[in-house]
């Protein structure tokens, strides 16, 4: 019982205790700015990666078109393997 009474006195004193008051405005704004860019739309390899991917897509599409026009087996193979890599 002694400890239960002591607990109540402790809680009453603890409620008076001061809390730190950090200014988090800048930190929160900074974190939100980082999160604002949708993660799914970022290029994992940066600008060079984006250019390389674009070149690959254009190349594959070109091969497919050439294949469709000429029915060449090499172009067809390149197109299929390029599509598989993508």
């Amino acid at each position: 019982m002694k400890r239960l009474e002591a607990w109540e006195r402790l809680v009453a004193a603890a409620r008076r205790g001061p809390a730190p008051a950090p200014d988090v405005t800048a930190a929160v704004r900074s974190r939100l700015a980082v999160r604002a860019a949708p993660a799914g739309h970022r290029w994992p390899l940066g600008f060079a990666g984006a250019c390389a991917s674009l070149a690959l897509v254009v190349g594959v599409l070109g091969c497919q078109a050439w294949s469709a026009l000429n029915e060449g087996w090499l172009a067809w193979l390149l197109g299929v393997s390029g599509g598989w890599v993508l």
């Binding site: 006195r9 809680v11 008076r16 001061p18 008051a21 950090p22 988090v24 800048a26």
Partner: protein, 196 residues
């Protein structure tokens, strides 16, 4: 790095109106309106989160997490209650998640409840209040997160059963049952250390 929070003092009515206006704007993506909300509420959030950790760095991190979670939850903000109440629900969930991730804390000392209570009862100094708060925190850290949460909200924040139900999302009867169980565990914890 975080500096001390500015205290934004407004009368309660105009503060609620300003909150409602800024929350509506923030929900539509207005970052400046959200900054004003942070400035008005960060001192209260800091007080709430100090119940969940006594580590200053972790505390600052938790306060930030509450506002980041609020920004990401504006889709669920209906504007039909006080913004502070909505923010408190997020704060309680953030703190509770911290406790659940960590499970029971390893307390580094065995608090002598009676001795500390005797020391701080008639001492109005902030240092005595800090000592009392540290002791209470160390004792509650020995309980499961759910017991700890209900006792913290009841005893330290002085919330009613209805208010606890509102901030936790539990039903009123669940709050009562949880509080009854948690008090029993606390009593056993206190009696275990009581001298014969």
């Amino acid at each position: 790095m975080t500096g001390p929070a500015r205290d934004i003092a407004l009368p309660a009515d105009s503060r609620d109106a300003a909150d409602e206006l800024d929350a509506g704007r923030a929900a539509r993506g207005d970052g400046d309106a959200f900054t004003r909300l942070i400035e008005r509420h960060q001192a209260a959030v800091a007080r709430w989160m100090w119940r969940f950790t006594r580590d200053r760095d972790e505390h600052a991190e938790l306060v930030q997490e509450v506002f980041v979670a609020a920004w990401e939850s504006f889709g669920s903000y209906r504007g039909d209650g006080r913004f502070g109440g909505w923010l408190q629900r997020i704060a309680v969930r953030t703190g509770y998640d911290l406790w659940r991730r960590r499970r029971r804390e390893r307390v580094e000392f065995e608090p002598d409840v009676a001795a500390v209570a005797d020391r701080v009862t008639h001492d109005p100094s902030p240092a005595a209040a800090v000592e009392a708060a540290e002791t209470v925190h160390a004792l509650l850290a020995r309980l499961a997160p759910r017991d700890r949460l209900v006792l913290t909200l009841l005893h330290l924040d002085g919330l009613t059963v209805d208010e606890i139900a509102a901030v936790t999302g539990w039903s009123r009867s669940m709050v009562k049952v949880q509080a009854w169980r948690a008090r029993g565990k606390l009593r056993r914890l206190l009696e275990a250390g009581e001298p014969a």
